[in-house]
């Protein structure tokens, strides 16, 4: 049967039954008077459902998944199904009773079914509320079993129950006292009073759950809870359970007024008793508890995308309990949003606006600005230099997220004469350098020197190189008006790339578009060209050709941070720390790595590329796995595919590839801005960058040179000093 049909006989029978039912319905409806209307309704329903409702469910389900993901990870309970199941049944009920719920077509319904469609909306709402309520209750039970319920201040999960129980007991005692006075006043006397007394446990539990309080505050709390309980129970739930209509009118108030006085008195009395009970319960102040706990120490080295993602995720995972003590060590005290760096070089954005302070981004993490200088895996310590201080940090878990740095040593002269584009200072230096050269050219009489001053070479055809040359060109052209002796034709921009096509990450079509676009805007693009050396006055190519220039921006080649070379672990050919799919360094318990300094295998047998997008995902996965390991669970392998890549090509143009779909031109540029603006860390910075963009439309770019020293001279001095240190 299975071979013939492809599934079990039960499946086939169920199918047949469903088809028979559908056939019956079709035959039955075909005989109806308004069969055409039924058909129209049916087709309409299909169109409405598939084109409007289905996408809506999908989006809602996605949102719900995002909302419940963290709780699912922390508890191992499938939280989303506790929303899906009641929502599904509720929607099914709505679908079945839709005309009655909406009160439409009542004439036909009453005529055909003989049932007056009264009160369907109320009943549907009630049924939905019940479904969600039961589902919530089940979820709470499952979460409590998994030990994942958030606790009240100063208490762990079982303590919450203790406080609730103590509150409920207090409520019962107060209820007994008030109930004795209430009993003679109600018609049924003792029979009606016993359930009332028992129910007093509920407001009592609420008073208990709200925690300890001073005497006046407890009395006030009692009054408030009493009123709330009266409105909830006497006026709403009790009539609902009795099947009476809910009116909340003065008749209901009159009927239940004795209970208002009783609830108020009960609240006051329970509050007064609570003042005596609460101090005897085991609870300590939050600060004391957090300090007393011996938390596992996690040290994260590196404040880039991966390191900050680890710290932020650990903060989120520990929202309800202090679970670990995290220290983030970073050379800068900010997270740099590198995709916008070329725009800083181009003067479109203010440098500080694309950097988020680490202390703001990770408010519950210890942030230490300093440089890690040595890792001792045996003693489990990291030596950190912070200014003049030398510190030793002990760790239980160490995360290497040190990132990459530009590799400038391979080609002679780069260190001395080229400008890298990897940090905020680099971007600002590049901008000032270009403006300084234009200023010098404005005065220069010698045509050859003037041409060299106005020739700007960028080496590297990746994102940084392409975006950098486009932005620098925009800047130069937009400030031309300030230099009266210069003509737009005097400016020369050269992009040198060793590969066969620019932006190799984006595929040949977009690379071709980019090439055409850049050439169309007057940028000379030299493909398949290597650089032999960089001189102060020229860029020397491997072909022997020399390009006379005073500006070389170097974006070709990065290498993992040098500190990881000192750690005795396996490294890839590029020098990155090799980790397994769960981001752990094999053979070294408690050592983890993510981001550009790590070589992370993907499930295709390759490794994840060193991009911000992957560093973020790696950081989050690492934190999840670290939390799992600390909780005694198994870490999960990272599964992530590149979502897409975007590059801005200067003034209102760009290229993008999202999930295999390619975009170019103004649309891609708008997508670039929208997506990166959303990804920029921190609301405040987003607003600032958006304002920068807005102002950039309205006003010319700034030509203020704020740095006193000549950037090239400064860079050369730094390089010499670094070299000298290495020699020593």
């Amino acid at each position: 049967m299975r071979a013939l049909y492809g599934a079990t006989p039960v499946h086939a029978l169920a199918h047949l039954a469903a088809l028979a039912l559908a056939g019956f319905a079709v035959l039955h409806l075909a005989q109806a008077r308004d069969a055409a209307n039924v058909l129209l309704w049916f087709v309409g329903a299909i169109v409405l459902h598939d084109f409007l409702l289905l996408p809506l469910y999908t989006v809602l389900d996605r949102v719900a998944q995002l909302g419940t993901r963290n709780l699912e990870r922390a508890s191992g309970v499938r939280v989303i199904n506790h929303l899906r199941v009641p929502a599904g049944i509720s929607l099914l009920l709505l679908l079945v009773f839709f005309p009655s719920v909406c009160g439409r077509n009542t004439r036909n319904l009453a005529g055909v079914g003989g049932v007056e469609p009264e009160g369907y909306l109320e009943r549907w709402l009630l049924a939905s509320a019940l479904l969600f309520g039961v589902s919530l209750l089940l979820l709470l039970v499952r979460l409590a079993r998994a030990g994942a319920l958030p606790s009240r201040p100063g208490a762990h999960a079982p303590r919450v129950l203790l406080w609730l129980a103590a509150g409920a007991a207090t409520g019962l005692v107060a209820g007994l006292a008030v109930g004795l006075v209430r009993a003679p006043q109600v018609a049924e006397g003792a029979t009606a009073t016993l359930p009332w007394i028992l129910l007093c446990a509920v407001p009592g539990a609420v008073i208990g759950a709200l925690g300890a309080a001073s005497a006046p505050a407890a009395l006030a709390r009692g009054l408030l809870v009493g009123l709330l309980w009266w409105a909830t129970w006497t006026l709403t739930l009790a009539p609902l359970l009795d099947g009476e209509p809910l009116t909340w009118d003065m008749d209901a108030v009159r009927a239940g007024f004795a209970d208002l006085v009783a609830s108020g008195l009960h609240g006051g009395l329970a509050g007064a008793l609570w003042v005596l009970v609460a101090p005897r319960l085991p609870a300590r102040s939050p600060a004391e508890r957090a300090a007393a706990a011996d938390l596992p120490r996690v040290v994260v080295l590196g404040g880039g995308f991966a390191g900050v993602a680890v710290a932020q995720r650990l903060e989120r995972l520990a929202r309800h309990h202090p679970r670990w003590d995290v220290t983030l060590v970073s050379e800068g005290n900010f997270l740099l949003f590198t995709p916008m760096l070329p725009e800083v070089a181009g003067g479109a954005l203010e440098a500080r606006h694309i950097a988020a302070p680490l202390r703001a981004a990770c408010p519950r993490t210890r942030v230490l600005q300093g440089r890690a200088e040595g890792i001792d895996l045996e003693a489990r310590t990291v030596a950190v230099r912070s200014g003049e201080r030398e510190l030793e940090l002990r760790f239980d878990h160490l995360v290497l997220a040190l990132g990459a740095e530009p590799s400038l040593q391979r080609v002679p002269g780069v260190v001395e004469h080229a400008l890298p584009l990897a940090s905020l200072a680099d971007a600002e230096a590049a901008r000032e350098h270009l403006l300084g050269r234009m200023q010098a050219a404005d005065l220069e009489a010698d045509p050859a020197e003037r041409a060299a001053l106005l020739t700007f070479a960028v080496v590297g055809g990746g994102f940084a190189g392409v975006e950098g040359v486009a932005e620098l060109r925009d800047l130069a052209h937009r400030v031309m008006r300030y230099f009266p002796s210069l003509e737009p034709g005097d400016l020369r921009f050269v992009l040198v790339h060793s590969g066969a096509r620019v932006l190799p990450e984006l595929g040949p079509e977009l690379a071709d578009f980019t090439l055409e676009h850049l050439r169309g805007r007057g940028v000379e693009v030299l493909l398949g060209t290597r650089v032999e050396r960089v001189r102060e006055d020229a860029l020397v190519l491997a072909t022997g050709r020399e390009i006379a220039t005073r500006t070389v921006v170097w974006t070709a080649g990065n290498r993992p941070n040098r500190l990881v070379e000192d750690v005795a672990v396996e490294r890839s050919r590029a020098g990155a720390v090799v980790v397994d799919e769960t981001l752990r360094v094999p053979g070294v318990p408690g050592l983890w790595a993510a981001g550009d300094c790590a070589s992370v295998p993907d499930h295709h047998g390759s490794t994840h590329p060193p991009t911000a997008q992957h560093a973020l995902r790696e950081g989050r996965a690492l934190a999840d796995n670290l939390a799992a390991v600390l909780a005694g669970a198994e870490p999960e392998p990272l599964r992530f595919e590149t979502l897409g890549s975007l590059a801005a090509l200067g003034h209102r143009s760009g290229v993008a590839e999202i999930r295999g779909v390619r975009f170019s031109g103004a649309l891609a540029w708008a997508m670039w801005r929208a997506i990166y603006l959303m990804k920029l860390p921190g609301l405040e910075k987003r607003v600032r960058v958006a304002l920068d963009w807005l102002l950039d439309i309205a006003f010319p770019r700034d030509i203020v040179l704020a740095r006193r020293a000549d950037p090239v001279a400064e860079r050369r001095r730094e390089a010499l000093l670094a070299e000298r240190r290495e020699t020593v």
Binding site: G226, F257, L260
Partner: protein, 481 residues
């Protein structure tokens, strides 16, 4: 601070002062003091007065001991007193007094309405005791009103008084407030009494802290006090009409309750606005500003308020569906279909949620504070929205009379559910910023604990006064049987 004899002495004096006010009211009303004398099987007024004075002093001592050393200012003590007085009304007036007199205890609406003057008396007792306790130096957070804050209060109060009188005149309800004399006298009284009320407020709360939201709830409670003091006491007594505290008379003056409450809210809003305007140019010290800028605060508050407002709005929807209230709301948009009504209702719920997010930012971080502020905000919007703006928008007469209050009661339940839902969601969202254990340093933990304690010592009194207000509204609104 441990309660000691000094606190007890202050409490005794405060209790005696409150007892004098309550006793004077009972003398004016007649009949109540012989009932108290019934405890010792007598019916002499003097005996009743004596017992009353002793009891008033004794519970005043307890009040002094309960509030000993709490971080409260003089204004908070007044509100604590009002709540404390009401608790004694429930316990003493409605329960112990009949029991001691050997009568059956009766908590039915009729009995409670008959004891309505006693409720007002207890509230007046508590307010007086609180004020005297503050004046005797029991307020730990002692801040003296400067000259300018008194001027500011007088200006805000005068403006609020004019608005109050204009609103009553517009609704043809001047008689309810005892302001139905000649126009010149009426406006002069409005200005004078408003200014005095504003000065009283500024003396009680010279330097408000925190966001505006709790201030508005304070205004609501202050408005309740004003209603009791002016249209229900001072104005009729000045006009020689006697003390209209009996339910039938109080119901006639119930129309002045809503404008009094909203007047109190307006007074505080104006007082704070004038303060902000005066302070904008001169005393803007960054050391006193909040951690985040106004931009971050506003955006976060608006975003979270939207979510909370939607949740609260959905809870409210249940009440509206049950009492068929959606059609009426649709009238705001010129329609009458429930679907349109639902859309308008949810839109309003979201907008009000946003205002709550801005006005109560970081005030309701704990569940109790969230409940307190949320329910109070619900009551405020019941008064302003359901009883005032909705009739205005629909071109109907204002619903401030006792019957109007009764008709609006289902909406009050909806507003309470809305406020509670909104505030609890917002508290859950705000906890992301400040989990209870987040303080990295002991100093920060101490500061957070101090702030928490300050709220715990001052705010519950306000929430309790709002509860008292709701009970009072119920007594007034229900038609006597």
């Amino acid at each position: 601070v441990r309660p000691d004899a000094a606190w007890a002495r202050r409490g005794a004096a405060a209790g005696l002062a409150g007892g004098v006010v309550f006793g004077a009211a009972m003398l004016a009303l007649g009949g109540a003091l012989p009932a108290i004398a019934g405890i010792v099987r007598s019916d002499a007024t003097v005996v009743g007065l004596l017992i009353h004075a002793v009891v008033a002093t004794a519970i005043g001592v307890l009040f002094g001991l309960l509030t000993a050393g709490r971080r409260t200012g003089p204004g908070e003590l007044v509100f604590w007193g009002m709540a404390y007085g009401t608790l004694w009304w429930l316990l003493g007036g409605l329960t112990l007094l009949p029991w001691l007199r050997g009568e059956p205890v009766d908590w039915s609406l009729d009995a409670v309405q008959a004891a309505f003057p006693s409720l007002l008396g207890h509230v007046a007792y508590g307010a007086t005791a609180g004020a005297v306790l503050g004046a005797l130096g029991a307020a730990v957070v002692a801040a003296r009103a400067g000259r300018w804050s008194l001027v500011r209060g007088a200006l805000a109060g005068a403006l609020a008084g004019l608005a109050f009188t204009w609103a009553l005149a517009d609704g043809g309800l001047l008689g309810a407030a005892g302001l139905d004399g000649p126009p010149v006298v009426r406006w002069a009284l409005a200005l004078l009494l408003g200014a005095l009320a504003g000065m009283a407020y500024s003396a009680l709360y010279p330097r408000p802290r925190g966001t505006l939201g709790p201030g508005l709830v304070r205004g609501l409670s202050f408005g309740f006090l004003l209603w009791l003091a002016l249209p229900l006491t001072l104005l009729p007594v000045l006009a020689g009409d006697g003390l209209p505290w009996e339910l039938a008379e109080a119901r006639e003056r119930a129309a002045a309750l809503t404008p009094s409450l909203l007047g109190g809210v307006l007074l505080v809003a104006l007082y704070r606005t004038l303060g902000a305007l005066a302070g904008a140019g001169v005393q803007d010290d960054p050391a006193e500003l909040a951690d985040e800028g106004v931009g971050t605060r506003a955006l976060q508050g608006l975003g979270r308020g939207t979510v909370g407002g939607l949740v609260g709005g959905l809870l409210f929807t249940y009440v509206l569906v049950e009492v068929d209230g959606l059609d009426r709301i649709a009238g705001i948009a010129g329609g009458s279909s429930p679907t349109l009504g639902l859309a308008v209702h949810l839109l309003i719920a979201v907008v009000l949620g946003m205002t709550y997010g801005l006005l109560f930012r970081h005030e309701g971080g704990e569940a109790e504070a969230a409940l307190g502020w949320g329910l109070s905000y619900g009551v405020l919007w019941w008064l302003l929205g359901n009883l005032t703006l909705l009739p205005l928008l629909l071109g109907e007469p204002l619903e401030w009379t006792a019957d109007g209050l009764a008709g609006g009661f289902p909406s009050l339940i909806g507003h309470l559910a809305y406020g509670a839902g909104l505030a609890l969601v917002l508290a859950a969202l705000e906890r992301r910023d400040n989990p209870w254990w987040s303080a990295l340093t002991p100093a920060r933990a101490r500061r957070a604990e101090l702030r928490r304690m300050r709220t715990a010592d001052a705010a519950p009194g306000l929430w309790a006064v709002v509860t008292v207000l709701v009970v009072c509204v119920l007594c007034l609104a229900a038609p006597p049987g």
